[in-house]
Symmetry: C2
Subunit: 253 residues, 2 copies
């Protein structure tokens, strides 16, 4: 049985707590958050606290707070013989340097409290500064997910950057398309089947092959039509992405 | 029974032919393409031809060829009493001006021959220069899809532009994320669950609300970390999209 204390009450911690409570061979013995409100829903299932000097003794402390708060929380964990990990995609493991046994447990997904997620399908990126702890993390990870990766801090940084393209930027393009529709009294839902098929296709065939459209064809006439109806901000994005696509396929615009 | 001649052998025509052959109240009596090879698979189910002077007499001619070829094909259709439509998102209806009865039948989806698609779920944008023909188009459209919209040439241009953001640009971001992973010996599949959830979320809640990430938070430290590891081309895209996100949420970078 791995005894775990989870620190955090944000979106990742919310889903992680739920998964850990369901896992066999894992005992989530306490959840800390600076405000109790965000973790109050857990009080029937585990101990909750907002006091860092009242942390239970555990095998593993999982710090799942915003990047800027990780180092500070890490310093407040006085049990220095246990393994301490964070869940961030962009923070180096050695930020936890006040602990001899460090690690990272980074679930690669976009989390919001309102969305149900099966942790089983979430890729978890593991790292530790020693092999034994990596095995401990692997055991924990396999108890909640089927998709485990061993990833060092440098690779994790790359993955986090790629994730920004796939999530943050894609979502922003969705927002832009919605605002184009709404500006012209068109229901944005008209684009939903296209959105779905675009993503389903990319899961099946490499995006490089799936690419279509005026920029790939070098179809300047259509591109100019589109540019003529876009706002300045959207025009800039349209131009840059079209140039990047054209460049990828050896076309000139 | 609506007698239809389909002109074209590309990806849209390929899927449209299949759907029309299955539809009740529709007889696809002939398919034309300049090369027979692309339509040879249809010869057991309908007449095929590569000669524009041998077109059958029909109620409706559907021109489903590349944008630049539409006007030329339209002129070659000598039966000027029938309805003639094209299937393009970005070409105005009045390009068919040599025909008195004009229309547009624009299926809003990304088509490739290798992907199976249910036409039932594809939004079809209809337009005509007279109400009676719009009703004819609606009848045809309802026989193959459940998702019908009446859209004029100006709105269609907007939709087509929005579709470029949702399909071409999103796919290109997928390609960029794949190339970041491959450059650093990371399996691109690690991003697949994120890609899926990003899209599924956007189908449920407005993208404006779903937005997360460093640009939305105004988290310059993380943004700089990401920029430091990107190639120049990707850096430019990262910067511009981050600025656009920050701007959308009143943040400064």
């Amino acid at each position: 049985m791995i005894k775990v204390v989870l620190l955090g009450g944000g979106n990742v911690a919310f889903h992680l707590a739920k998964a850990l409570l369901k896992a066999s061979d894992v005992a989530l013995i306490q959840v800390y958050n600076r405000s109790l409100k965000a973790i109050k829903h857990l009080e029937k299932e585990t101990k909750i606290t907002n006091k860092l000097n009242q942390l239970e003794s555990a095998d593993l402390y999982i710090i799942s707070v915003s990047d800027v708060a990780i180092a500070e929380i890490s310093k407040k964990i006085k049990n220095t013989s246990s393994l301490v990990v964070h869940t961030s995609g962009s923070v180096r493991m050695d930020l936890l340097k006040n602990h001899k046994r460090q690690g990272v447990f980074y679930p690669l997904q976009t989390f919001s409290k309102a969305r149900k997620l099966s942790f089983q399908k979430i890729p978890v990126c593991l790292e530790s500064n020693n092999n034994k702890d990596l095995q401990l993390l692997e055991k924990l990870a396999r108890s909640i997910s089927k998709d485990i990766y061993f990833i060092d801090s440098i690779q994790r940084q790359q993955i986090h950057t790629a994730a920004v393209f796939v999530n943050n930027f894609v979502n922003h393009l969705y927002h832009i398309s919605t605002s184009i529709c709404e500006k012209h009294q068109i229901q944005p839902e008209i684009l939903h089947p296209l959105l779905k098929e675009t993503t389903e296709k990319a899961l099946k065939i490499p995006a490089f092959e799936a690419q279509t459209g005026p920029a790939r064809r070098g179809d300047i006439e259509t591109i100019n039509k589109h540019l003529s109806i876009l706002s300045d901000n959207h025009k800039e994005i349209y131009k840059l992405l079209s140039q990047s696509i054209a460049h990828t396929y050896g076309k000139k615009l």
